[in-house]
């Protein structure tokens, strides 16, 4: 395979970012239901074979989160979680672990992380600094948290295992034959 130049790397990352963004909006009216299946999240398996997908997913997630009702919070925290999960997925791929492990980081980080900041932030009261921080932990409600973890995690699992893995297998075949 020809060694990819830096520019090629960036352009491909940018395409993955816009794919994430476009798919998020394209499937928006289709992905309603008790358990939301975010089709775009199936792309989170990509860093397993393409390291440039880390930047792609991070930027794509950022662009899509501009429209989140949580706006700035999702833009920073949600994007950061995506970045870390993508890094781990890449590591899994690098050490050529089973591809069935690839969707684990995005599922874990999104389920536990996103549910955490949503519940924690909505429970914050008008306290300042350290006191507010302590308050979040003291008054942390476990029941809604785990409900959040469950719904987000399930939706994530459906899209990554249901759709992400078939995509990954299909792409792997083409990578082997140098098609992409």
């Amino acid at each position: 395979m020809v060694k990819k130049s830096k520019l090629r790397y960036f352009v491909r990352a940018a395409t993955i970012a816009s794919l994430y963004f476009v798919i998020t909006f394209f499937t928006k009216p289709l992905s309603f239901g008790a358990i939301q299946v975010r089709i775009a999240e199936s792309l989170t398996v990509l860093p397993y074979i393409f390291p440039e997908a880390i930047w792609g997913l991070t930027i794509g997630c950022f662009l899509a989160n501009i429209f989140s009702p949580f706006g700035p919070i999702d833009m920073i925290l949600g994007t950061f979680l995506t970045f870390i999960a993508a890094l781990l997925t890449m590591e899994i791929g690098k050490h050529s672990k089973s591809k069935y492990l690839a969707p684990i980081p995005p599922i874990i980080f999104n389920a536990f992380g996103v549910a955490f900041y949503i519940i924690a932030l909505s429970g914050l009261s008008g306290k300042i600094g350290f006191e507010a921080f302590k308050y979040v932990f003291v008054n942390f409600k476990l029941v809604p948290y785990f409900l959040g973890v469950l719904t987000i995690g399930l939706g994530e699992a459906f899209s990554t295992y249901g759709l992400g893995l078939p995509i990954l297998s299909a792409l792997q075949r083409r990578v082997k034959t140098n098609e992409i």
Partner: protein, 266 residues
Amino acid sequence: MKKGSILGQYQPTNSLVHQLDSRLKITLIFYIVIILFFVRDFNGYLILLLFAFILVLLSRVSLISSFSAFRPILFLLLFTIFFQMFFTPGEVVFKLYFIKISKEGLTLSLYIALRLILLSTFTFILTSTTSTVEIAEGFQMLISPLKFLKFPSDDIALMISISLQFVPILFEEADRIMKAQVSRGAEFNKGNPIRRARSFLPLLLPLLLSSFDRADQLANAMEARGFVVGAKRTSYKERRFRKLDYYFTFIFISVSIVALSVGRFI
């Protein structure tokens, strides 16, 4: 498919709020969201709510659309209110068999509701008065000082602008592939969640492959024209702060200070 309706809530009315510098708008919205979590008094929230309402009126976007901004958080809103209301211990004001509503629970859930509504309203003001491209550009400029911390902000800025270029192209492509697959009998959004997710494979895989092709073409074209990664770039439009931007900053900060001091000093 109408592109305008999908691409967020941007409504081009060219009002005063629209004309503000996008960097400033992003910073101010971030600032007000942080402030939101430090307001101590109910009246403070009312001040912010009034302020948000005035901003929505000033930006001349449709009022109905600003209410639709709550729709995605409605479930979360009801859910947290429900939990705070019934499971917060304190002075009982309402009792029906085993259901107890405490005074503390009521006030807490009111605060949470107000805060979530304010959060989504301010975000709505940002996204309805600033196009995605402007927001992304604003961010590129905001992160550029991070260069000194070895943060690859130039590279990220490059990737953001390339991906924004790709968005309309890929939208069309996705639409085309979807129609082609539907005409062959593909069904989206049917069956159980796994089935539903899987049904997108005939859309996603061709889309991925064709977009990788496009990426290679673009990279070839850029290389052929002598694009160098990391070279200093100039831009067609230079942005400068205007008087209007300074006025708004002043108003924003004073309102936030008033909202913060209610219940503390006043």
